[in-house]
Symmetry: C2
DNA sequence: CCAAACAGTCTCTATTTTAGACCAACGGTC
DNA sequence: GACCGTTGGTCTAAAATAGAGACTGTTTGG
């Protein structure tokens, strides 16, 4: 197996790795890349990778929205449902459980009839919220640029 | 329809809104929450919400990983595949297209045989990368805490 | 001449998500 | 007092989505 090292056998008409090159001729970024690639080879490594873990949670799609919603204060199940109308009960329950399991929020049950339950961020949850808020700011700042890029792309590639 | 205002008719045994209270008696956070809730009622609003847009992209699950991988420099399709072994070609293609459409990365085709294509972050992509890296740092920092919380949760609630 | 590599596309299946019914007890209305 | 909505969920069936793998056509390597 040739195990081709990317970047060496590249088309002659374009510089592909525009990164600093080490004395031996291989790109520095390439080496980092190889390390990263190697790391991701084993399922075990992938599973215990913190980045993956966080990303998989964001991949819940609802998780981030829930945390953002809870930034306004403690919230009951049904209030969350109203705040995020397009989440199904099932997913809301599931996402809340995951978040609780990971210690990002705490669940409090009031033994009344009908039962009342509320969710609030833990300190860990608050710190995650900080990250999310930074992301939200980036999103708002970049929104116009993204919309523009999107319009341009759609115009270039078929408009159907 | 009573349109119950959350927070007023709460169980007597627990303070549910531990947030500053405005002169008129309603929680400040509650008002923000109502605004947020109102915003999310209309599908149109949800669709054009920048936060949603970014979150939906992270919800791709692979998008973030791709951007993080491209932080090491330009990368060809197959190298990305090797770097992220558990992504399917289908999703990789799809995610790359979305990212390109939103102007986070650029795609360059070298008309050789066999064809070569490489992807690299645009300035906008780099700025998104910054956010992602901050998130990655948070993830690594918080990993132990999360693992602990998880272990505790699993111990408390049935260990099956 | 068979195999692999390149960057995808296409189809078929497996997983995930959603929509909606249901629970049991209570408050308000008619 | 029948009827409705409210509480926080769980459960099932249907819809959307993701994944696995075959296929494209050309070129180099063995």
């Amino acid at each position: 197996m040739p195990r081709l090292s990317e970047g060496n056998r590249l088309p002659a008409d374009g510089v592909v790795m525009a990164t600093p090159v080490a004395p031996n001729g291989t790109s520095v970024a390439l080496k980092e890349m190889e390390r990263w690639t190697a790391l991701n080879q084993s399922p075990a490594n992938r599973q215990q990778c913190p980045v993956r873990e966080v990303l998989d949670h964001l991949g819940d799609k609802w998780t981030a929205l829930i945390v953002l919603t809870l930034s306004h204060g403690a919230c009951r199940f049904s209030a969350l449902q109203r705040a995020i109308p397009d989440i199904s009960k099932r997913m809301l329950t599931q996402s809340l459980r995951n978040l609780e399991r990971d210690g990002l929020l705490s669940r409090r049950v009031y033994p009344t009839k009908p039962p009342a339950v509320d969710y609030r961020l833990t300190p860990l949850g608050e710190s995650f919220l900080g990250q999310l808020q930074a992301l939200a700011v980036w999103a708002e700042d970049s929104h116009p640029t993204i919309r523009a890029a999107r319009a341009q792309f759609d115009a270039a590639n078929g408009e159907g």
